[in-house]
């Protein structure tokens, strides 16, 4: 039977649609009201909560916990001090990305990792001879993401420490008398926080947040609105924009950290004091310049998009729900392949079609024009798009302290 999250008893009361998907074996709301766009604007203009409880969660504890993660994670965990969180990825020996997740460092020898896929066996196998314990805590906590420009105002009355949290900072706190961990993290690219709460305290903590948020138009949002916000934020999603190299059948289905745009997580890769899985291959790829792809943003020329559709007697559609297939990109009108968009949507905020894409490295320079395949009246056409840097949307409030 499909499971329900610790917040489900309350959030299901707020779900006007009854529409749910399945996420990691849990019911997960697609949207709470009939307009996903309305929820999306909740994230961008007020505040909204998302139930991220189905994430897998693992405690990584012990004397060698940091050493363990230093060797496993591509990003240098030594830069993540206690009381901080860190987005990270991990790779195989060829530097191909396995998965991504967020590390929360609770203490010098205690981390909590959240991930989209189950990893307990993998992590335990990686321990080898180190003094580290990996413990599954997936069902122990509810995770509530409170995102949007008003999120700080909503949380501060409940937890004054929140005012002091910097981007990716975290703190233990109490809400309605219940112990929680609050971090300034999220998957929307906006100001936002995540509240990790023991499953049994989930409802009173949620109620307190909902109550505090009522004057600020706080509303729940579902997977569809999250999917829109994360594309604008330039955040790739596993099993949509890429999939684990562990489950690939050939190298065409695998991507290195460089190729996926995760190069920024490799800061310090030249520092020989840290050996991590995939390092040598990643260094070689960089030094020999052998990356096959670059991950970029693309922004479709809206005037051309409109004209192309109108020319063929079709009303141009502007759908904010991302298409669920990969869209082919071409270098020129001779159908020479340039790459493909892995996520593509109409952004209501940017007022244009935007996408996350992989293009051949020589086409990655911002300003380069690529041609996006469009099917109109059952025929193939292309429409020009400009390569742009990611993220598309990066408000100052995401990282600012006030």
């Amino acid at each position: 039977m499909v499971l329900t999250t610790p917040f489900h008893p309350r959030l299901s009361e707020l779900n006007e649609t009854g529409l749910y998907g399945h996420w990691a074996g849990y019911l997960s709301a697609l949207r709470y009201q009939y307009s996903a766009k309305n929820e999306y604007f909740g994230i961008r203009n007020a505040a909204a909560v998302f139930d991220a409880s189905p994430l897998y969660k693992y405690w990584i504890r012990g004397r060698d916990a940091q050493k363990f993660l230093e060797g496993l994670m591509s990003r240098d965990v030594r830069t993540c001090k206690p009381g901080r969180a860190q987005y990270t990825i991990w790779c195989d020996d060829n530097g191909h990305v396995l998965e991504d997740g967020v590390l929360f460092r609770h203490a010098p020898d205690e981390f909590l990792l959240t991930a989209a896929r189950p990893n307990l066996g993998f992590l335990q196998d990686q321990v080898r001879r180190l003094n580290v314990e990996v413990i599954d805590a997936s069902d122990d906590f509810g995770v509530l993401a409170l995102q949007g420009p008003r999120s700080r105002e909503i949380l501060t009355p409940l937890v004054p420490e929140v005012a002091e949290l910097s981007f990716f900072g975290m703190t233990p706190a109490k809400i309605a008398g219940h112990s929680v961990t609050i971090s300034r993290t999220g998957f929307t690219g906006d100001l936002g926080y995540e509240v990790m709460v023991p499953a049994e305290s989930a409802i009173p903590v949620l109620d307190a947040i909902l109550e505090s948020g009522a004057p600020h138009h706080l509303r729940p949002f579902g997977e569809e609105a999250l999917g829109m916000a994360r594309i604008e934020a330039g955040l790739p999603l596993i099993d949509v924009d890429f999939s684990s190299s562990r489950f690939a059948y050939n190298d065409d289905q695998r991507f290195s950290a460089w190729e996926l745009g995760f190069g920024w997580t490799l800061r310090g890769i030249d520092d020989d004091s840290r050996v991590f899985t995939g390092r040598r291959a990643l260094l070689r790829e960089r030094d020999e310049n052998t990356s096959r792809w670059s991950t970029v943003g693309i922004s479709i020329a809206q005037t051309d998009y409109r004209a192309l559709h109108e020319e063929h007697g079709v009303v141009p559609y502007m759908d904010e729900i991302p298409v669920d297939w990969h869209t082919m990109l071409y270098e020129n009108s001779d159908w020479v392949r340039a790459g493909y968009a892995t996520s593509l949507m109409y952004s209501p905020l940017m007022q244009r079609h935007i996408g996350l894409a992989r293009v051949r490295p020589h086409l990655a320079e911002p300003g380069t024009i690529v041609h996006v395949e469009q099917t109109i009246n059952h025929e193939y056409f292309t429409v020009p798009a400009t390569v742009v840097p990611l993220p598309f949307f990066n408000p100052e409030r995401k990282v600012s302290m006030a």
């Binding site: 039977m1 499909v2 499971l3 399945h22 996420w23 990691a24 074996g25 896929r117 189950p118 990893n119 307990l120 066996g121 993998f122 335990q124 599954d136 997936s138 562990r246 489950f247 059948y249």
Partner: protein, 529 residues
């Protein structure tokens, strides 16, 4: 000799391979006669109404390995082919808990995590690794094995292809393949899993129909054979044909007849007529002769080479290899007509767990202990059971509210030490029923009728030597390029015009149709040259 007894090709045996071969030949325009000893076609793939309204799948009971090529090329759908999905596998445990696997990936991971959270992601890695091994070995399964020893240009070309294919494998995939081909399924599973019930569930596929335990070398190979199967492209999954496996053979039989083959029932072939090293026809037990330049034996190698023809017509190395060829059937069937669905206490009145196989093999140790008795010539007092309540899959199988339950039962060696199957038949039935009752309290009260089919019964009724369900053990020295004997794997025989195409040839057992297809291809090729 009357004109009516003259054919282009005669197929001995109306099991699924014989019907398949006959259908292909008839489709190609050959005047084809299929001879079946019994009153119905199907061989070991039959469905019988042993009690009014209750359909028993006497022997074989599931569908997975039937080659997609056979379904497509013979257009079986036109003749009523309908494989029903078996979406679940239910594994009751001795402590009253269970493992219930279904079609939803995430739900399965959660169900596995209930037994071991670390086995959840291990399952993803395991499934992927197995599917890559399948990708690597399946082309071998679906090609005629080359004769390594012939020097024939065609064989040489095939060997070149083979070396190229084997050499193209990924390092890990090659190693995993070799580990499965040569090792035990228990060792392989230990690398991934810690939960007994998950290992028991997976290891069961490594012992089916074979005299190996999950800890024996050789169980990896049996696992591979069963994993090659598919249902609608899903590797390793099973389906249930409408009407049971008797339904499948009826479909292939209808196809054969529609393409022009003649099927003659109650016609046991006594021997093949051989004239100066050439097959010329067959003689039935009643003396009736049929003549054809092509005779295909779809029986097992013992019948094909030692009984249907005079072994003096054959080279000694072949005769010796076939004499040595191991059958040693070790599986039985215990089939039930039930008054109602069995009840599994932990699931209350739920019955959705019965939409697929019920695997009574809750741990590797359970399976290996069952094997211990089989190894020394006795049947397991707590046998491994692969069950299916088929009336949950197809309402035609039993009257409304009533059920038929098929239980594949191991280990039950053909040769019992100090007794015989006439004496022990019902004791075996009791052991199986007792085992079921220990998982499903009150099971005994549901039983309306019980049918026990021992290896001896399988041999007597279907002709499969020593009751081996694969037409010969699926052990490395008698598979692929050695099936049924080194140098005799091209479906021809040393007797010109005499061919072999039963389950004792590559790709071997289960209801695959592979041998029937390959032998017909070889016959048609030889006619053209």
């Amino acid at each position: 000799m009357s004109e009516g007894n003259q054919y282009d090709a005669i197929v001995v045996g109306g099991g699924h391979n014989g019907l398949t071969a006959g259908a292909y030949l008839a489709k190609d325009g050959l005047r084809t006669l299929i001879l079946e000893q019994r009153h119905l076609v199907g061989g070991a793939a039959i469905t019988e109404e042993l009690r009014p309204g209750f359909q028993f799948t006497t022997f074989s009971y599931g569908l997975s390995l039937l080659r997609p090529e056979v379904i497509q090329e013979l257009e079986l759908v036109k003749f009523g082919f309908m494989p029903l999905e078996m979406p679940t596998t239910f594994c009751p445990m001795e402590n009253g808990d269970y493992l219930l696997m279904g079609p939803d990936h995430d739900a399965n991971l959660r169900e596995i995590a209930r037994h071991s959270p670390r086995d959840a992601d291990a399952t993803e890695r395991y499934d992927h690794d197995i599917s890559r091994v399948m990708q690597y070995v399946k082309p071998l399964f679906d090609r005629m094995p080359p004769n390594l020893f012939s020097g024939d240009p065609e064989d040489k070309a095939e060997i070149t292809w083979l070396l190229q294919h084997l050499g193209s494998g990924d390092k890990k995939v090659v190693h995993d393949t070799v580990r499965l081909l040569t090792g035990s399924i228990a060792d392989f599973l230990d690398d991934y899993f810690e939960s007994d019930v998950i290992k028991g569930h997976l290891a069961s596929s490594g012992i089916i129909g074979t005299k190996v335990g999950p800890m024996s070398q050789g169980s990896g190979l049996v696992y591979l054979l069963l994993a090659v199967g598919e249902h609608d492209g899903n590797i390793g999954s099973w389906s249930f044909h409408k009407g049971g496996n008797g339904g499948v053979t009826q479909v292939i039989g209808r196809a054969a007849e529609a393409y022009g083959a003649e099927i003659r029932l109650n016609s046991r072939v006594n021997h093949v007529l051989v004239d100066n090293g050439r097959a010329t026809g067959v003689v039935l037990d009643d003396g009736t002769e049929f003549h054809a330049p092509v005779v295909i034996s779809a029986l097992d190698p013992r019948h094909t080479f030692l009984e249907l023809v005079d072994s003096r017509e054959l080279p000694n190395d072949l005769v010796e290899a076939v004499e040595r060829y191991r059958f040693q059937g070790t599986a039985s069937k215990v089939n039930f007509a039930l008054d109602a669905a069995p009840r599994f206490p932990a699931l209350g009145d739920r019955t959705d767990q019965y939409r697929g196989f019920i695997n009574i093999g809750p741990s590797i140790e359970y399976l290996e202990r069952a094997f211990d008795q089989g190894k020394y010539g006795w049947y397991s007092d707590r046998p491994y059971l692969d069950c299916c309540i088929q009336s949950f899959l197809d309402p035609d199988m039993a009257p409304p509210g009533k059920h038929v339950m098929s239980c594949f039962t191991m280990y039950t060696p053909y040769e019992l030490k100090g007794s015989d199957w006439e004496t022990e038949r019902e004791n075996l039935g009791d052991a199986a029923q007792r085992t079921l009752a220990s998982f499903f309290p009150g099971f005994d009260d549901l039983v309306l009728q019980r049918e026990v089919v021992t290896p001896l019964d399988i041999e007597r009724i279907t002709g499969l030597s020593e009751g081996n369900i694969y037409g010969g053990e699926y052990l490395a020295p008698q598979t692929w390029i050695f099936r049924p004997a080194p140098g005799y794997t091209d479906y021809r025989t040393p007797i010109e015009g005499y061919y072999q195409g039963g389950s004792g040839t590559h790709p071997g057992g289960c209801v695959s149709g592979g041998p029937g297809r390959f032998v017909s291809q070889q016959v048609l090729k030889d006619r053209r040259t």
